[in-house]
Structures are given as C-alpha cells and as structure tokens.
Symmetry: C3
Subunit: 374 residues, 3 copies
Amino acid sequence: MPGALATHIAEVSLIDQHVHGCWLAHRDRRQFENGLNEANTEPLADFDTAFDSQLGFAVRAHCAPLLGLPKHAEPDDYWNRRGQVGELELARLFLRAAKVTDWLVDTGYADGVADVAQLADVSAGRAHEVVRLEQVAEQAAATPGEYASAFEEILHRRAAGAVGTKSILAYRGGFVGDLSEPSAAQVAEAASRWRDNGGTRLSDRVLLRFGLHQALRVGKPLQFHVGFGDRDCDLRKANPLYLLDFLRQSGDTPIVLLHCYPYEREAGYLAQAFNNVYVDGGLSINYLGARAAPFIGRLLELAPFRKIVYSSDGFGPPELHFLGSALWRNGIHRVLSGFVAEDDWSEADAIRVVDLIAHANAARIYRLDAVERV
Amino acid sequence: MPGALATHIAEVSLIDQHVHGCWLAHRDRRQFENGLNEANTEPLADFDTAFDSQLGFAVRAHCAPLLGLPKHAEPDDYWNRRGQVGELELARLFLRAAKVTDWLVDTGYADGVADVAQLADVSAGRAHEVVRLEQVAEQAAATPGEYASAFEEILHRRAAGAVGTKSILAYRGGFVGDLSEPSAAQVAEAASRWRDNGGTRLSDRVLLRFGLHQALRVGKPLQFHVGFGDRDCDLRKANPLYLLDFLRQSGDTPIVLLHCYPYEREAGYLAQAFNNVYVDGGLSINYLGARAAPFIGRLLELAPFRKIVYSSDGFGPPELHFLGSALWRNGIHRVLSGFVAEDDWSEADAIRVVDLIAHANAARIYRLDAVERV
Amino acid sequence: MPGALATHIAEVSLIDQHVHGCWLAHRDRRQFENGLNEANTEPLADFDTAFDSQLGFAVRAHCAPLLGLPKHAEPDDYWNRRGQVGELELARLFLRAAKVTDWLVDTGYADGVADVAQLADVSAGRAHEVVRLEQVAEQAAATPGEYASAFEEILHRRAAGAVGTKSILAYRGGFVGDLSEPSAAQVAEAASRWRDNGGTRLSDRVLLRFGLHQALRVGKPLQFHVGFGDRDCDLRKANPLYLLDFLRQSGDTPIVLLHCYPYEREAGYLAQAFNNVYVDGGLSINYLGARAAPFIGRLLELAPFRKIVYSSDGFGPPELHFLGSALWRNGIHRVLSGFVAEDDWSEADAIRVVDLIAHANAARIYRLDAVERV
C-alpha cells in the first residue's frame, strides 16, 4: 500500500513552467523519431532508431499503457497504435494525464505546434505566454524607426499579457564574455548593421545584451536556456557559471535556469548564491528516462527548496508533455522516499517540498493567481 | 545489531583538518540563518528561510536530538530551544559530540568566533593553527621595510607554531593564469603598488603567486580553497585543474584541495596524479545534507585512499562543527557498507580505509604527533 | 538463482575495442604497482601503495580467485602468488577469462608488451590493429621526401590492414583551439620545422590537425583519447566539448570517444548530437573499481544505445585486460537490473542493450565480419 508521500506525489498538481506547443496533426515516423532526439539536427542515421534510447524506452514504458498497450510495447506496435488514435486525441489524452493546471508556453518557436489557446483547450488547463526575447528583437528589426524604442514598446506590450520572458542566448554564442548593458549608441549602431544584413536570427552580442537588460527592467521572471540542447548550442559555452557577472547585475528579477544538464550542480549553487535565481530540470528529465531520478536528486543539492521549479519542455509529440510529469513524479518519489527511509527527512517535510517544486514556487514567482486565464 | 564497520564508524576519532572558530555568544535568527547559507553574500530574501535547504533539514535531523528535541523538530522549536541553551553551552555540546581529537584552525578570518585556544577549550580537544597566506601578506604590507623579507619573516615565525598554511586564491581571481614564482623585482614593484593603494584585501596576482611559492618552501601542508564557496568566488575559476602547472612545480610539499564541489572528481584525479596532492570534502558535506553520501562516494573514486582527509569547515554556528562529523559518519557508512554488501571490499579493508580518512592520513601529513598541544 | 539478465551478462562475449598489449615477462613489484596507477608519471611515494586504491582493491577482489586465492587476499599474498604463476601464464589465464572474442590493439606505444599477434595467441582470440596517428607522423618525418605524401602513403598502407585509427591529441596540447584542416603549404612548412627539430614526439598543431583530417578520409573509425589519463595530459583541455567544431566537419567517419571520465555526460551528449559519434568507458572502469557501476550508469544517459561500446584499455599487467571485463559485467548488471526491478525497462530490452554494447555496435562500426583474422 503506497504511503502518504507516494500518494501525494501521484496526485499533486503541477505548474509546467516551461513548455512549447504539442502537435495537433499527424507526422510520419521519421519526424516522430527525430522528435525524440534533442541534440541531433540531422535525420537519424539508417542504423539508428530513437526508440533505442532512454527517452524511447521511457515512451514505451510510461506512454504505452495510456494507449491501452502493455508497458514496454514494441516500437512498431506503439507507432501503429498512436496512428490509430490520431494526433489531436493523443494531445488531449497525454496533456490531461499530466495533471498540469498551468502551462507556461514559450512561443518563440512554434512551427506546426499548438499555440497558447490551443494548448489550454486540448489540456483543459490554463496556458500563459512566455515571450522570447530574440523574437521580440526580430519584430523590432522589422519595425520602422528606432530599434531600441521599438524593442521596448513590443516587449512591454507583449509582456503585459505574458508571465515571463525567455532568452536563448545559449544558442546565439553562449554565455561567455561581456553581458553588461550596452550604450544607446552601441545599440543603434548594432541594430543598423543587423537590419542591413536582413534582421533575422539575431546573433549580435550587443543586441542580445540589450534584450536581456530590457527584460530585467520588465521584472517578470527571465528564463535562460542552460546546458543540454541541440548541437547548434555549444554546450561548453552554456555553462551557467559564465552568467556570474550578469547575475550580479540582475537585481530582483527572478532568473530561471532551464534544463541545466550537465551543469545542474553549478545551477543549484547559483540558486543558493542569489536570492533571485531559480533552477529547473526541464528537458533533461525526459531525455534521461530511467536515469532521471539521480538527476532529480542532484537538483536537490545546493539549491534551496524554494528555488526549484518543474517543467517538461515538451515540444511536438504530446507524449513529452505527459512524460515529463510521469518521470518527475517517479524520480522525486525515489529520491525523497530514500531520504525518508534513511530518516534524513521527515515525511511531512518531503510532502511540503514536493508542493514547493510542483507548483508553489512557480505560482509565487510568476504570480499566477494574479494573471488572467487564457 | 550494527556490524563491526558501523560500530567502528560511529566511534572513530576524527582530525578535523580544516575548520574555523565557532560562535561563543548569541546571534539573532537572521544571523543564524545566514550562517546556514554559504553562497549568498546578502541577507536571505523575505520569502526564503535557510531551514528549507539540505543543511537546514540536516540541522533539524541531526542536531535537534542533542538539544533534547525530536528529530526533524520544527524550525521555530529548534530556534527557541537553542536560545534557551546559550551559545557557549551549545559550543561545548556540539564540538564535544563531534568526537574530534584535533582541530586545524584557519585563523585568517575570525571575526566574532572562537580563537584557537578557545576552540581547544570548548571542545576539550587539541587545536592547531593553519596560517592564511593572504593575511600574512596584509601583515607584511603593514610592516616597514622590504615586503618580501617581511613576508618571509612573518610566515616563518607564524608557521613555526602552526601545522600548515592556507590560500584563498580562489577568492582572489581564481586559479586561471600563470602561477609560477615571480622575480624579486616583480614582487617589489607589486608590493609598492599595493601599499600605495592601502595594502588591504590582496588581489595582486604577483603577490598571491609569491605567497604560494613561499608556502611551498615552508614545506608544511598548503591548503587551497577549491570549488564551492560564496559568490565572491567565481566557481568556474576555482576548478582545481587550473592548478596543474602549479602542482607540477610544487615538489614534496603536501597540497590539500578543500571542499572541491562540484570538482571532486577532478580533485581526486589530481590526488592520483601527484604524490603530494590530497583531497578533502569539507564544506560540501554539510551543505549537501541528505545528499552527502553520494558526494563521499565520489571522493572515493580516483583518489588513492592514503590521499583523502576529513574536515567540517565549520564556521559560526557550532552545529556545523558537529554536523560535518555526523554527516561524514553517516555518508561513509552508506558508501562503504554498500561496497562490503556487494563483496567488492572486505569489511576489514573498509575499517582500515575509515581510519585512514578519519585521522591517519591527516596525522601523517600534519605531523600531529610532533606538535605541541595548544 | 540468477535471472536471465544476470546469466546473459555473465556469458556474453565482448569486443574489447581499445586495448594495448599485456606483459609477457616478469616485472618487479614497484613496476607492478606503478602499472596500477594511471595518472602519476613518477614512482609512487614511499608512504603509498597502489593496492590502497579502488583499482588495487578490485584486483584483490576479482583477480585473486583466478589465482586460487580468496577474494580480498592480502597484497603480499597476491604479489607472491602471481610471481609463482609467471607472467606468460598470467596473460593466458586472465585474457581468456575475459571472454573477449576480438581485441582492437592500439600499437602506438608498445614497449615491453605483447604485439597484436602475441595478444591473439595468448588470448586464443582475434586481434586487430588500431593505427596511432602520431606514430604515423613520426614515421613520415623519418621518410625522405614530401611529408604529406609520406604520411598519406604510410597511413593508407597501415590502415589497410587495420580496423581503425587513434589520436592522442589530448596528450599533445589537448582539444582547445582550431582543429580545421591546414593547407598544404602550412603542412609543408610545419613538417620542415619539425624535421629540423628531430621529428620526434609530435606536438605541432598543424601536423596534428593534418593527421586527423587524413584519418577522416580513410573512413575507418577514429578513436580519441578523452579525459582521464596521466598528468602529461591536461585534463581540462581533454573535455570532448572542445571537439565540437571538429565533429561538425567529421562527416560519416565514426568517431569514438575513449575513457571520457569525468566528461562522460558531455561525451554521451555528443553521441546523441552526431550520427557518427560513439562513447566508450575504457580506462575509467578499471580505475573506478567498486565505483564503476555509477559510471556505467552515466554512460547510459544521453548516448543512444547503438552508440556505446566496450573496452578495457588494458596495458601491462594482464589483470587489467580481465578486470575491465569483470567490472563492466558487474556494473552493467547492477545498473540494468535496477532499471528492470523498477519496471522502467523490460528484461528483454536490457538483454538486447547488453548485446549492443558488448559486441554488436563495435562489430558494426569496425566491420569485424569483413576483416581477416590476425
């Protein structure tokens, strides 16, 4: 018979504080398998299959039963069955099974996936926008007149209806180097140069820095992609320790370090060192599958318990939006039940920490009680 | 019934080879809670409490029973009870419960805490000084005449009554860059510049390097703060791998890498690579709380077993001087009893390795049999 | 009664895809103990013994029974017993007990150890050469005429009878910096300079880069020493993330990242990010001893299961050629039986993944079915 901790973890509602849209229409098997590989930017090799990975095994273990299949169903059986269900129904099924009340949706890259309203609809939950700063920059580049004021105007307008901002600086040169606020003249010059070059895919460091400091002024939580991502991101330059000087200048604006693998210890340290820094396991949990529990344990090292938040980073296959929740529940149960079994923690404390990570910390920093339902 | 290994670990006497003074007088709750957060240099945020961290939970789990409270006592109850006991009595209680025979005390920063003699007194143990090099530098800057000879004279005088030296280079720019010995002319010039600027808080690289090489000549063990500390230390530049060239030049003087998190694997490698390099878990063990055991396991990877030492790095709340011991005993028991249960190690070997880490290695390198009792 | 997974792991045949020769003649105890320390390049200190390390304990635990001694035999007893057996008989005994069908032998450094044919003979298995690029360079430097064409000619001739190539760039300045293909003029100039300086121990970056790109053209798997090695290698510069740009240029040639500790997570990420990148635990497994299982677990994180291979990296004492196999079997059993016990993986999947790592992946990339038996 499961104890109070196990029952609580199985039932606790989540705020998924960093997620993207899910597919609403059918894809072929190659697209599905590439959707289960984060790091590779090319089609998988002929000899390979995304089903032979921790994520692939986790899909078969945790998602198959929701489709009426046995755990560990064969890949072909799984693929055929999900085709019979249909993508929209899969989205409803998996997103609702995640027991997520609120989805915080990064709308910066959304080709072919549900938008914020659609995500609320299929999940029967609430959905809120997170504004991607590099997208705001592209919008400002396309706006006539002064770049800086256009950026500010667009950011403030979009942020007013959003719960936070997000930076993919990790994908645009990484965190190495000066991240201080540039002067107005530097911004104007850089913007002019970028506009002359087409104003797409921002990689100019001056404008990236400008965007970050504008986001600090907005004051809503600023999310950073940290660590693990696809190979366009130089993982070495996505070590959050390179953010130290920026964090020293970041004031009270909450900074949320997303994903973090393999720098979760460094991220946890920063969450202890700065009152405004938070840490999230995001993407990493899905990709670690059966190895997610030790990772979740590492997130519970130096980071104070009021500084840890949950996300799935689901994008594309709706399995991912559910699997993040399933693996997090499994993993945190293994970690915390171990602490309780050793009498290092009381069960009551463990339950309280579950609530903090599952929803209470995110509700506090994103002020979700104060925002409109989408 | 506990086995021979468990009994041995519970009873073995420790040499705490890197520690600071404990408080002897009352502090308020804010000071106490900040004393349980290492990394942050500001007051904790209003929404936060240091009790909601691994260290806070560990205090409630392991220290509360010594105050007559149940394990996992509520924070308010714990705080009220420790106030009733009084700080001096807390110091006696916790330090004696640590079963430490010898405390090696870094006297470089000692505002408001017990000095070496007081620590010996409250703990009913022996206490020995470790001389902080950057403090010697400040003393030399304040001494008339040539800086280099003043530094040498002060260092040799102080080191004669001490068991080792300590560098906080990690806090003064980190380990990146040239750490070779500067020339006499470079030292004189740098000292003159520093004295002109007031001669406080040494950050000049030439003088820092000079101090390290003087410490090598003294020949007593030289401790380095490595890894985890407060945010004045750039954790990225406190990676011990940056010490490689310095270690290649360090001869026979024992070099002790303190704390090390999250670079404990790198530190263990260096302890295998150099006959004179040692590794310590220090500060990290207290801050990891229920997660200390896996860290202690990682210390037992590449480092030869005669190259690992124990410390608590306690500073301030006397709970920390005890908790280091309690968590180390718990953690090493979990790790080694696992090795024995798998029949990877014999129990006799495990007991022997406990003795090496608990006291034998430190007694050997600090020559504690040869030093005077303070 | 052991289950199907345990039985399968105990019996599965291995391809040891990176190994060196073993000793065939007697050495003294000092040589033997230095043979059990990888990182140190000096004789062990008087106070130390290689038996007091994870590797030393693992030798006593796993090798002693093959010599008719009890597990955890005392070091002196072990040393005496192995002397009675004699080195050639030890080689036969240990190499055959490893259940390895194919040894892929790095012949780049082979002083005093078995050559490829001898290794096949003592092991009663197949042995294949892996050509070390830096050795080819030295041969080219010693060949009259143009360096580049001499290098190409020697490499193609040697590679025709070999299964792969190997680079020790990690020992020749590490991975930091430009690794693109140099121009013919740069190669000629650098070769001239190197020949003038004697043409030994290649450390010229231009020629090292030239060799790598020639190896890519050969198309057979290219192995890189990564991470843990002796202290001539700057471990910080042996982080595989520095290889990112090179990997982006590496086309279809399989790249095998060897050893990897403490960068196994980074290496696994690269194995997910690039269709042609593979990860191996090699040397690290032996040196981790009782701590090998968690390392093997970390190898099973981001790397797809068709991208992980086995090796022992044995060199010298034939214990190492066996111990790699014994520790890998123990470790993968602990990791995978844990996944199965939690019902995260099916037992059938676990058995299939064992086969992939033990031999199927290596057989595929080295095309072992197509090569001649040596």
